[in-house]
Amino acid sequence: MSNPILALRAVNKSFGPIDVLHDITLEVKAGEVLCLLGDNGAGKSTLIKIMSGVHQPSSGVIEIDGVACPLPSPRAASEQGIATVHQFGGTFPLMSIGRSFFVGVEPTKGWGPFKVYDRRRANAIAVKAVQEFGITRIDDGDRLVGGLSGGERQSLAIARAVHFGARVLILDEPTAALGVKQATHVLRIVNEAKRRGLAVVFITHQVMHAMAVGDHFAVLIRGAVAADFKKGEKTREEITDLMAGGASMASLEAEIESQMAQA
């Protein structure tokens, strides 16, 4: 297999007295989807915030292409080709769809000091990207983001990261707010990104989604990597148990299944 694009070596993170991550060592390889699994509060979001330059590790090293490379800011991460969809936010309620899509990397026309923001092109690209997610209701890039539904906004944020993620695409629970159609589309996009040789880090609480795209799985329990395995090395049931923080889900699953059976 190829060398890792992005690697964490013995990374720790604490907020004041609260230790959130312990000795995390992980590798993200080109053309591979790494699924980060774990219970609520396990530290997944914190971990990817370190990968995207939002937080700085308390100790430990971030390597890019095998070279130690601190990411002091989100800008530094995006200059390394790392694009992230965070769990919350990412869009700007009072901005137009086009402007929100291109925020920070606005397309321009003209030359020299007279470069102007190319509104028409930005709107066209943004609307196209969002419509590809099956959200055909949106056809005007000048509409304000604040008027969109939760899922529509989430699709916009994902479309943005996919559009700009040059080497690493990090998605924190991207499908959580999405409808069946949109979620399926996100999974298809993840596969497409993988095929194009990007490294993808994917966080989800849905086993089916994880198994549909993951090549490699890392399970966090209380801030430490509790399991790290390849596709096919564990069964669906084992993964489910791990996602639940190591608790045996057998009984719970059975319960739900039995209710479904009654249906």
Binding site: G89, M95, G104
Partner: protein
């Protein structure tokens, strides 16, 4: 289709409410103030006020769009004026040294404001309230120490007078009006056409997401604070040159006045929404309201009341339009 002009499209612009508000107060004063108010001399009267306010209000408005506030402009106006007057009036050095020193102090105070806001996460209202007091103290202390007086005279001639503090176009308009128009055009370009403007709106909309999107929010915040403090020092400097004198006191009215102009201009106090053209209209509206009173026959004792009521009216009109903007979407043909 996105470039055709529709009524819906016009109404959802942040400046729509401000423009209508301006038309309303103009009509009001045309009726009650008579025609003197719209003759050149009358127009110059509110244009001059608008210009001095506007040069400060636009950068302050940008700060507000980005989610911050700068109260210290109230002290920067006398600071700029006094710096010029002390250097070029009291010490008699060339006027250009006074001009650059005034602007230089503006940059310095802006940097300090910006630095404190970024590093400490103290709300900018409070940081700049602190620097308002501190700068007021410095201006008073230093001026008295140096000149033994709180009012310093300054006589300027030559190009500096013509560029910064003279009257143009038949001796009615302050040269500040030209500065104001020019700066407004520049701001419109940078805020609404250059990519850079997008960042300010993003910051005001959601600072964390903006930072996560790779926008250098800290550098931008610094820049905006520098811009507002320097603009205020610039206005003070020009006033000192125009009126041949600088006072330690004064300038505080710029604080509320420019906030009013900005908000009447359709900028959302909580950030993320607004436009330079709107602030431009808001500034004129404010100037018309405060100066228009003098052309009417209303008892002067009631002018505060009239200003208060007109302001509330303008903001209400404005707000109606912002609501329409947010819920606006082009109607589809069929369902």
């Amino acid at each position: 289709m996105s470039s055709t002009i529709s009524i819906g499209g016009l109404l959802r612009r942040p400046e729509a409410g401000a423009a209508l508000g301006l038309v309303a107060v103009l009509i009001f004063f045309a009726i009650f103030g008579g025609m003197t108010f719209l003759k050149p001399a009358g127009m110059a009267s509110w244009l001059n006020v608008a210009a001095n306010l506007g040069v400060i209000a636009i950068p302050l408005g940008l700060l507000m769009i980005s989610g911050e506030l700068d109260i210290s402009v109230g002290a920067m106006v006398p600071f700029g004026a006094m710096t010029t007057a002390v250097i070029s009036g009291h010490y008699g050095m060339p006027i250009w040294i006074g001009v650059f020193a005034a602007l230089g102090f503006g940059v310095l105070v802006g940097l300090i404001n910006g630095f404190l806001v970024i590093r400490t996460a103290v709300p900018s209202l409070i940081v700049t309230l602190g620097s308002l007091f501190a700068v007021q103290g410095i201006v008073l202390g230093l001026t008295v120490l140096i000149t033994k007086s709180t009012s310093v005279a300054l006589a300027t001639e030559g190009p500096a007078k013509a560029i910064f503090g003279d009257f143009v176009m038949g001796g009615q308009l302050q040269v500040m009006v030209l500065w104001w128009l020019g700066l407004t055009a520049l701001y419109i370009f940078f805020v609404h056409f250059s990519p850079f403007g997008n960042w300010i709106f993003a910051m005001g909309g959601d600072k964390i997401s903006a930072r996560n999107a790779g926008i250098p929010t800290e550098r931008l915040t610094m820049m905006l604070f520098v811009l507002s403090a320097t603009s205020a020092a610039f206005v003070g400097m020009c006033q000192a040159i125009l009126y041949n004198s600088a006072q330690v006191a004064g300038g505080q009215s710029f604080i509320f006045n420019s906030i009013i102009a900005v908000v009447v201009g359709g900028v959302l106090l909580t950030g993320g929404f607004g436009s330079v053209v709107g602030i431009f209209f808001g500034t004129i509206t404010f100037a018309v309201v405060t100066q228009g009173i003098y052309y009417t026959d209303f008892d002067r004792n009631w002018s505060s009341l009239i200003i208060g009521v007109l302001l509330l009216g303008a903001v209400l009109m404005n707000n109606t339009f912002r609501k329409m903007a947010l819920s606006y979407a082009p109607k589809k043909g069929g369902k």
